[in-house]
Symmetry: none
Subunit: 206 residues, 4 copies
Amino acid sequence: MASRTNPAPTAEPTDRRQEILNAALACAAQAGVDAVSIDGVRARCGASVGSIYHHFGSREGVVAALFFDIFAEQSRSVQAQLDAAVGVEAGVQALVTGYLDWVVAQPVQARFLFQARGPVANGPRSAELAEAARGRNQALLAWFEPHRRGGALRDLPCELMPSLVMGPVQSYCRAWLSERAGQGGLPSPQVYRSELAAAAWRAVRA
Amino acid sequence: MASRTNPAPTAEPTDRRQEILNAALACAAQAGVDAVSIDGVRARCGASVGSIYHHFGSREGVVAALFFDIFAEQSRSVQAQLDAAVGVEAGVQALVTGYLDWVVAQPVQARFLFQARGPVANGPRSAELAEAARGRNQALLAWFEPHRRGGALRDLPCELMPSLVMGPVQSYCRAWLSERAGQGGLPSPQVYRSELAAAAWRAVRA
Amino acid sequence: MASRTNPAPTAEPTDRRQEILNAALACAAQAGVDAVSIDGVRARCGASVGSIYHHFGSREGVVAALFFDIFAEQSRSVQAQLDAAVGVEAGVQALVTGYLDWVVAQPVQARFLFQARGPVANGPRSAELAEAARGRNQALLAWFEPHRRGGALRDLPCELMPSLVMGPVQSYCRAWLSERAGQGGLPSPQVYRSELAAAAWRAVRA
Amino acid sequence: MASRTNPAPTAEPTDRRQEILNAALACAAQAGVDAVSIDGVRARCGASVGSIYHHFGSREGVVAALFFDIFAEQSRSVQAQLDAAVGVEAGVQALVTGYLDWVVAQPVQARFLFQARGPVANGPRSAELAEAARGRNQALLAWFEPHRRGGALRDLPCELMPSLVMGPVQSYCRAWLSERAGQGGLPSPQVYRSELAAAAWRAVRA
DNA sequence: AATGAATGAGCCTTCATTCAT
DNA sequence: GATGAATGAAGGCTCATTCAT
């Protein structure tokens, strides 16, 4: 929708689309996904109501676009660690630490992903979300498959794998993120980085 | 707020309070927690706007009351299986299967619990929620403690225990519940009941 | 919805419902039915947005309620002249003059009826409108029937009767009303009162 | 505004102007004149927003242009039957049947004419509309004049003539058109073609 | 002639909440 | 305990229109 080739040498380098998404994320960070309102977004970036609708079609469209952008970025981040890993054990651990490191590095985005999944899943782009999630799981399983066949991994139902590997780390990260600037809250996931990685390996090794 | 010792001289045995909560749950089941509105509730049960406010004080009050009711019921359900378990391993597995069985038996309530946690945690009863969650975790840890000291359990940080034990089953149940009456969806958690229980044990045994 | 028994001895005797309808008519008179907006109505009577919705459910609801009120009043007005008429010829003429007199006496309402019919007919109360229109036609035909059988009226298809009797007077009144405070406009229908009445009789007499 | 002598070196033979008007008519046919929006038109034909403004200047301009086009076409159609008629009676009847035949042949356009008259009459081209209407009436009266002077026609006020002659057929056609693809609706005007023509003659003959 | 991004006023509607009865 | 009329802030969305390219 919006294309711009090297637009201004001075100030506004980012295009409207991205400005709007940034503003939406800022709204969500402050008061939750439900607080992402057209007017709130409009107030943060300079965009007009009409411009937001021109680019995203609806409030839902803004949230969904942001969700998919962040989702993809997170996937890339995890994939990078996975690609760098050598061996089964390191691979399994990379999935955990790749996820954990990204959450710690981008807590705002991570919180948004948790919060926005429901709304997106129930919205008009639910099929797209299902497809993206399926794709990610397939990639994970495809990576596992040779090792499982080679006997390095326990023979578990493939529907269970994601939950067994990622369940604990997601559970902990979710709890950590859900605390509002906690004083007496949970320690950073970084503290348990190796424990969580090790637990994932124990869960699936032969 | 509402107590009734003389249940009604005439017909209706159920009290208003419960009718309202039932209606609220029905609203949430249909379109998510955010769709629980005073007017939506009013339309489902016969209660008037004023009556709802009389009993619960606010919309948030309705959601929170429902949340705590369900939360307590779920805790009771899990506790019952835990109480019946003999030995460490059986105990750990009871936590998983107790949770899993309740989710399968009460999927509507389970979905509500997932959805409403955020709103309740950010509302005026957040302290109460934190306390309830802490209490449940403490109970779990207290149950574990003697076995850990006895060497039957791995020496893990206690902040991690809940995620290691319950993370996978919660992850799977959440995924299962989030599918809207799926045709090609995930199998019932029951299918993986013993796998999930066994995995929990592997995660924490010495 | 709104009941009020002898509320105030001094000023506001009319209830909210009627105040809202009056305001809506005033809006329509000034700038057409399409200009009946919730906010315009709210500004004219003191009612709040919520109050309007409480009574009428939607903007469409306000317009429809006003339409049906005026429609009924017009029917009553015509019926009164018809009841007073003696003989076939006088009856046919009473239909025309009854209508014409009402239009001249209530031009604002008459204009509204012309303008709002389309929207109401395409809205959710279209069935009700069809029924009301059918009822009025049936009443007219039922009144004609004995005279037609008695040979005083030409044997015409009953679907055509309303158009033959009322078509000309409606056509003229519509043209007259559609002129905005005309200087060089059409003369008042009153000028052609007897001509139009006579024409109606010529159109259907045996 | 748009003239084209060199219709296009490549493919598309129809010009933009007409495509836009066709799209506008389609919008109106589906949901009424008020539903003719720039964006709706844009979505139907391929034209861009700017292109529509280039050709018609405003939304009102599109509606008005379409109205005058159709109005002129209808006039031509009626005039053709009138020209072919021989004698007073045939002439009067030709006015009715010419109108009726056109409505039946072009119901979509006819409905648009009924719906759009108000908006156009209140818009910036109202004078033009008044002139067109006056012109048509003058033509009709001019055609009548010699016959009236010759005593073949009743001596009626000329303001009344259009309503007396065309009122019934317009009334019936309007009612017929306003039914949405009716199942139990009114019969086609064709069914009463000769009745309506005869009635018009009875209304004005000496 | 054409394009489409941007604008912002204006609209309808929902909703939590209050309060007199 | 219960009722429902009234309130008004807030939100989503449509739409005609402008303008730089």
